[in-house]
Symmetry: C2
Subunit: 554 residues, 2 copies
């Protein structure tokens, strides 16, 4: 085709179809809104006018903050008016997130995490009530918002707004700015539910230029205290594993910056730093910089001077006042409240920290792990992003260099990716299994690949109550399997290990038993925990931490 | 130590040292500023008061936009007052970026890219005039701003500001929001140079709540048209390689989303889409979604209806009006101008696209490549981030799945990472070498690891004028080396390849010669380019593209 013909075609084409479509939608609701403000009671009616069947709709559902008023309102729109929405949700957390599909309003979903709704979701998929897009880690879903999943509409949640649409998201900024940016700059429509409309924002987290509408929610957005772990439930087995991890991983490799996932295992580590860690003289040497939500179990370590900085994905209910009083440690705005940012914290957690440590429900003999188990399409949230060795990293740190085993001139270091698991889950299910249930889930749900959370090739260490397997030191897949078997206890995988193999691995420094780390199993006592209850965490915080009612027992 | 003792210690400690230090600095300049506004002529004096020796200073130097007024002003401060600054610069581009060190104002640097200053930098390092921190890819440097390199001061550039400090960064938003966020929310001081102070911003890109000071620059910030390639300089060898890439990579693997780096090789691809690509019937099937700066050479493909969307790291000089007239394709704000975002585009370019294609100065027999050559500490900018297989990716696309070779139930796809090089550089230097110069640079500069740009293990395809090596199909390191040798021409590496080896590789589909792709070398003519000059690009753009003077020859 000649250039001239092409240019003729181009001239006939409109280049503002998205902008024009948006203008048309906005004009439809002009009389139903007051500037940027939608009256609470009008939201369903306005959504019915603004949304068009087939739209790609980003609905904010972080793993903590939920745009709950907007998601509830979405279920109330008439499916005869609006249907076949393609929902993009980082977390499918609330029942109505799936009701939207049952009611015929939406039919396709791309997501990252579906913990609480994973069973129902698998069932609905089987029943043909929804079509699966893809399962993502958070940041790859965010990335697609700028490539092939640009949203038509973004429904988000903020604490406060002014009438110009400036938003204050405060401690729970999470993913809001990224979702809004993707929609606002490609002629999508941005609607924010807020707890309060005010002329006087503490600070601006998202400029009004990016926001089309605000609506005051009928009640404050839902916020889950997802990262709160009550120290009372930490077992002595977890304490033993935590001691091994501090000694055999953090101290040995000089881990200065790290991420901790959710769970009692890592809560135990946090609570041992001011006691066991202190006794080893490690304060100021390890665990200084954190990419992590404000875990209440980190309070004793902070108060004892262990922690230089914490950058967070999101907030944590009850920690607001404590954080505001510790600006040297947390990222806070001029108003004193925290600034979180899920995208930037994931980026930091991927590229800028020495270590990721997490847990899993199943691990195979090669070290592949997944939390997707039979009948549950759970997804993985941020774990795949932080729990792999980022191939694009080019800077070094002592811990990263410590993972070098080759003397090849092009050898590089490695991120420490640690899996910390008891050999059996609750219910006496073995964690170490011959084959991941995820393979069956792939087949049942017709997924293109098996939903693996963390691939064995990325795992540098596995810690169980039996010992630590230093996988990064193994030099063949056979040796790697032997190492995993050696700490897999009496699971089917563990029973394959022999005394002779364990001895050889210990000699090579690939297996460490507690005694090899100068840890006596009998020392792993709850008395070692810097705080043994939520009440003690409150004491440590100088009563600045205000736990949610369900964690109060005094 | 008991909890009580710890608590006593904690009580004695101040938790607001950073905030107090900032307040003290601000009070020192109170009389020298008018609200948030610093008078242009006062900047050096104000910097001398705000900066403290040993500060970590982030200085905005993208590979395009430069905070040139602030960097110039920094060289004018008195080193007896302020010294030993630790500079963090994503790009060391301007002479004064190194003058700061020569004058004794700064002594340490962490950076990502030092192209234009790489020779001088290596020399200064050797002479002990500066201390190296680490070399990073852009986003890992950004990540560290939230972990262990939180800035004391951020010096950035914007187009416009109002007196409240709200910033309009427009098409050249680039890395500014990320740098500002890191400083603003950990009690760092944010100073923005602006081209204009106005009450009426086109839109707000960065809220005033995050900005401490603005200063009107003596002249607009420097902006390099770094991504502009004049089609007149595209050779027929580059056209041949571009045809092979379109046929043998993009078409074969159904590449729908991609990033193109800087250079004539990829410019040739862009200019062949509306001609050669059209003749293959590929419009609407490949190259629909782009993570890329607004390359002028993409204009014909856009005008011919090839391009659904372009998200950009930064802007490109002269493309402003064209972009504003094509909002269906580019990310634009309500004011009509583009919004770029280096962090988010890198994230998308890492996680959400099918393919990265780049070039290099040297490649070894294993496919490792580097642009760091003898005496030059260049760094790599964004290439390592986008030019690797992201281990955290969990979603699939046809191209990604196409890279699966194993039938293991846990097998996954792969990002396409393509290196496109002529076998010899200008000056008759072979690109394929026995050993990368980067190894010597590591030794000379005492780096912890060799500065490799892209590791061989990540490269799926190498394209040269000889043919395409499909490295992802090789099943051993030996076969991989044979594949690379087979397309390495008469370089030392290429001479190791035999006729027999080439035949075997072709049979296995690991090597494709042009004829295997139904491409005749004689068809690779400049007449195939949709535009053969900058003037023709302007024509294609309907005169909306306004190239900088140095690209105008008519």
């Amino acid at each position: 085709m000649s250039q001239l013909v092409n240019q003729q075609i181009a001239k006939k084409r409109s280049w503002t179809t998205r902008r024009d479509a948006k203008a048309k939608r906005l004009s439809k609701v002009e009389k139903m809104t007051c500037g940027k403000v939608i009256a609470t009671e009008n939201i369903v009616q306005v959504l019915e006018e603004l949304l068009v069947s087939g739209d790609r709709v980003v609905l904010e559902g972080n793993n903590q903050k939920q745009a709950s008023f907007l998601s509830q309102s979405l279920t109330e729109i008439n499916p005869n008016k609006v249907n076949q929405l393609h929902m993009i949700m980082s977390s499918i957390s609330r029942p109505e997130h799936l009701d939207i599909f049952e009611k015929g309003i939406a039919n396709k979903v791309d997501f990252s995490y579906a913990g609480p709704q994973s069973l129902r979701m698998a069932q609905m998929l089987e029943d043909g009530q929804l079509t699966m897009g893809e399962i993502h880690t958070y940041v790859e879903l965010y990335g697609r918002l700028f490539i092939d999943l640009t949203p038509s509409v973004a429904l988000v949640a903020a604490d406060k707004a002014d009438a110009h649409g400036n938003l204050y998201t405060g401690p729970n900024t999470e993913e809001t700015p990224t979702l809004v940016e993707a929609a606002a700059f490609r002629d999508g429509i941005v609607i924010a539910q807020v707890n309060e409309l005010t002329d006087d924002l503490p600070r601006v987290d998202i400029p009004g230029s990016w926001v089309d509408f605000i609506v005051v929610a009928d009640k404050p957005y839902q916020l889950e205290p997802l990262f709160t772990r009550d120290p009372r439930h930490i077992t002595e087995l977890q304490i033993l594993m935590a001691m091994m991890t501090i000694r055999g991983v953090y101290e040995r490799h000089q881990v200065e910056s790290l991420n901790h996932g959710i769970g009692f295992n890592t809560a135990a580590i946090e609570l041992l730093l001011p006691t066991y860690g202190e006794s080893l003289g490690l304060r100021g040497k390890i665990c200084k910089h954190w990419a992590l939500n404000p875990h209440p179990t980190l309070i004793p370590a902070i108060e004892s001077g262990w922690v230089d900085s914490v950058h967070s994905f999101g907030g944590e209910v009850g920690m607001e006042q404590y954080i505001a009083a510790r600006p040297d440690v947390f990222f806070t705005g001029r108003d004193g409240s925290m600034r979180s940012n899920r995208t930037l914290c994931q980026l930091a957690g991927q590229y800028a920290v020495d270590l990721f440590i997490g847990s899993t429900l199943q691990m195979d003999r090669d070290g592949n792990s997944s939390t997707v188990t039979a009948g549950r399409l759970a997804g993985f949230g941020g774990a795949p992003n932080m729990g792999h060795d980022p191939g694009g990293r080019r800077h070094s740190s002592p811990a990263w260099l410590n993972m070098m085993t080759a003397d090849d001139p092009l050898a590089k270091g490695k991120k420490l990716v640690v899996q910390m698991v008891e050999t059996f889950q609750a219910g006496n299910q073995p964690v170490f299994v011959d084959s991941l249930d995820a393979i069956k889930v792939r087949d049942d749900a017709n997924l293109e690949t098996t939903p693996v959370m963390i691939y064995g090739e990325d795992v540098t260490h596995v810690v169980t109550e039996e010992g630590i397997a230093y996988l990064y030191k193994t030099d063949s897949i056979e040796e790697r399997r032997e190492a995993i078997a050696s700490i897999a206890g009496v699971t089917p995988i563990g029973l394959k290990s022999t005394v002779k193999s364990k001895l050889k691995l210990r000699e090579k420094g690939i297996l460490a038993l507690p005694e090899d780390l100068q840890i006596r199993r009998t020392d792993a006592k709850r008395s070692l925990l810097a705080a043994k209850s939520v009440e003690e965490l409150v004491d440590w915080s100088d009563h600045l931490y205000h736990p949610p009612a369900k964690f109060r027992s005094w």
